[in-house]
Symmetry: C2
Subunit: 359 residues, 2 copies
DNA sequence: CTGAAAGCGCTAACAC
DNA sequence: GTGTTAGCGCTTTCAG
């Protein structure tokens, strides 16, 4: 047994706590080992400059010896801050949300924050559960996707003083802060582009507008833009589908089987666009010769399809970074959450061209 | 003002706390409102069956009125459990890790756990920081990617009693539990397949083996398999690159510019394979006529490339689910972490064929 | 079935 | 500079 100070106020049953600890250490063990008070340990860890260098070194030494891991949970109880932000997205798999998520996590990490992740799978019910749990973990702020949320969730965030931010959807009317591009405007630009190429009969593939208000904005833009140009909005050319390539393929297939197929199709996300494109090639159709396709998101893979996909570039990384920055600034410096509108950009690649036959 | 019990032991400056709370409620307010003790509120929330139905209803009513959100942080202090698991992956963007992550989050959520996410960007330094922070948040368990970890991290997890699990890499030799397929075996099967097709000059594109032990296993299998078949391992046909399509393209480009290009290339992940494939087509080479390509992962998009990519299917979803289940079982029922080996499957699609000229 | 009281590991005054 | 003390919001004996 090592020659330790023999004042067993609390007889520790540590058989050989030489310098490799066997059990979780608390700030008390560290203090004892360093021969200081717990307050000093706390200071040495959080405000090193308020402690004499030599003392600090002794404390740090004791921390190392015991493999002490600071208990952020206990600290949070007092500081009323968890240094944690919650993030809820509908899906990560195979999607553009992964990009914003990675940026949020990166930015948070750099600022000393940890991200609690929730995946709602496009289910409002699941989202509410997820959010409740994040709130119970006392996240300092919550970053949500889109503007469809349980009313009681909003109330809880309000009364519990948890700031929240909407991403992927601009909340112009409401007083909710959002960091996003304008889905309507972006989709409009895509449709406008097809029309300007001379297309008169257009199809749409998009997500399910009942659970996805981004898809709703995009669909609305599609319909409005056609009307604006005096073109027909034919329900037989509008498909709301799940977020899968296969769904894009089958939607395209259905359109092509229509008596009067479209000469151009707007797919409101690249995942579905890739499926749609593949379906056309499967049938031996030339893209863009026989039919034009435009996607939405600019996933990295869209530069690698054959032909390369024309799409709308969405500032996913920027959005994630800005959202995290704004959230953290609000948490740390009480700066009210500000809304930011980001821009999108049409990336004309190879799947779009004028229709073969003008009417 | 509602006719409440008038015994202001602690004069609450609530001007009109009718049923919409203005500030965060604690269990005390709820107790007061329901006319019970804090202990009863706690019981009503955690062990409803130990409280009379009528009392419980009163408590729940008070919870609703105050928008009370349970403080999981305070609860964790006592229970020594956070109902939280940490997950560290190298990247989410545009990758197969998104799939396992989604499954882990899904499974955790269903079991009442929250996931704390860290993205290490293939940096051991960043990973150590991330892990430290997760430990400080007192995660009940940690799911890591691969087997390269800071020694002091391992010690901290050990002495702090935080169970950890390795994914994406089988830890046969070491005593670390892992839930994964065997990278070596899986890569071997891919290379073996090319050899069995008649290829004698093979190239490799893989991740950076210095920061990615999965890539190392796969490279090792490539080299061993060639040797086993008495084939040359030509360093000029081996490329370690970052995890980007562009990198796969440039690696392929370099190989093709070689005096004696390969007739088949094993890309140790689909991302690089897509780039490589694209590069071949860019140069007007026929795949698999002029050159065969096999990928690894079976990303959804590999069924949508032209031609469709032959690859090795990896059980990402299963791995995530099993890892989360095993971790949670260990946390809740003290079951020791068990290792599981999952299987992969070669998916022969359209980018592989016998070489045009046998030697 | 319910209440009173102690205390989880840490920090924030306030002393010394 | 450093120590002492009093809790943060909750759970958990132990009484009643």
């Amino acid at each position: 047994m090592p020659p330790t100070r023999s004042k067993p106020e609390k007889p520790p049953d540590q058989s050989k706590v030489a310098d490799a600890a066997r059990v979780k250490a608390t700030i008390r063990e560290v203090a004892h080992r360093a021969g200081v008070s717990t307050a000093t340990v706390s200071r040495a860890l959080n405000r090193p400059e308020k402690v004499r260098a030599e003392t600090r070194e002794r404390v740090l030494q004791a921390v190392r010896e015991t493999h002490f891991v600071f208990d952020g949970i206990a600290a949070s109880m007092i500081s009323r801050r968890s240094r944690t932000i919650g993030l809820i997205i509908p899906t990560i798999t195979n999607s553009i949300y992964a990009a914003s998520t990675q940026s949020i996590q990166h930015t948070a990490q750099a600022a000393g924050y940890t991200v609690l992740l929730g995946v709602s799978e496009f289910s409002p019910r699941l989202e509410a559960d997820l959010a409740q749990r994040l709130l119970e973990r006392r996240v300092d702020g919550l970053i949500l996707t889109g503007g469809n949320h349980d009313q009681s969730l909003i109330e809880k965030m309000r009364t519990n003083g948890v700031p929240f931010l909407i991403t992927w959807k601009l909340m112009r009317g409401k007083d909710w802060p959002s960091v996003s591009f304008d889905n309507y405007k972006a989709a409009w630009s895509a449709v406008e582009f097809l029309v300007s190429l001379g297309h008169r009969r257009l199809g749409l593939v998009c997500g399910r507008t009942d659970v996805n208000d981004r898809a709703l904005d995009r669909r609305q833009a599609f319909e409005d833009c056609l009307e604006r140009h005096g073109l027909a909005v034919d329900p037989v050319l509008i498909y709301e589908r799940d977020f899968e390539m296969e769904e894009g393929a089958s939607a395209m297939s259905a359109m092509l089987d229509t008596p009067e197929p479209p000469t151009a199709v707007f797919c409101a996300n690249d995942i579905q666009a890739i499926g749609a494109l593949s379906q056309c090639r499967e049938r031996g159709l030339s893209v863009p010769g026989d039919i034009s396709i435009i996607g939405f998101d600019d996933l990295p893979v869209t530069s690698y399809t054959r032909p390369k996909l024309t799409t709308v570039r969405v500032p996913a990384h920027d959005m994630g970074r800005r959202a995290a920055e704004i959230m953290i600034a609000s948490i740390e410096r009480q700066i009210p959450l500000q809304s930011v509108e980001l821009q999108t950009e049409l990336i004309a690649r190879e799947t779009t061209a004028p229709p073969r036959f003008r009417r």
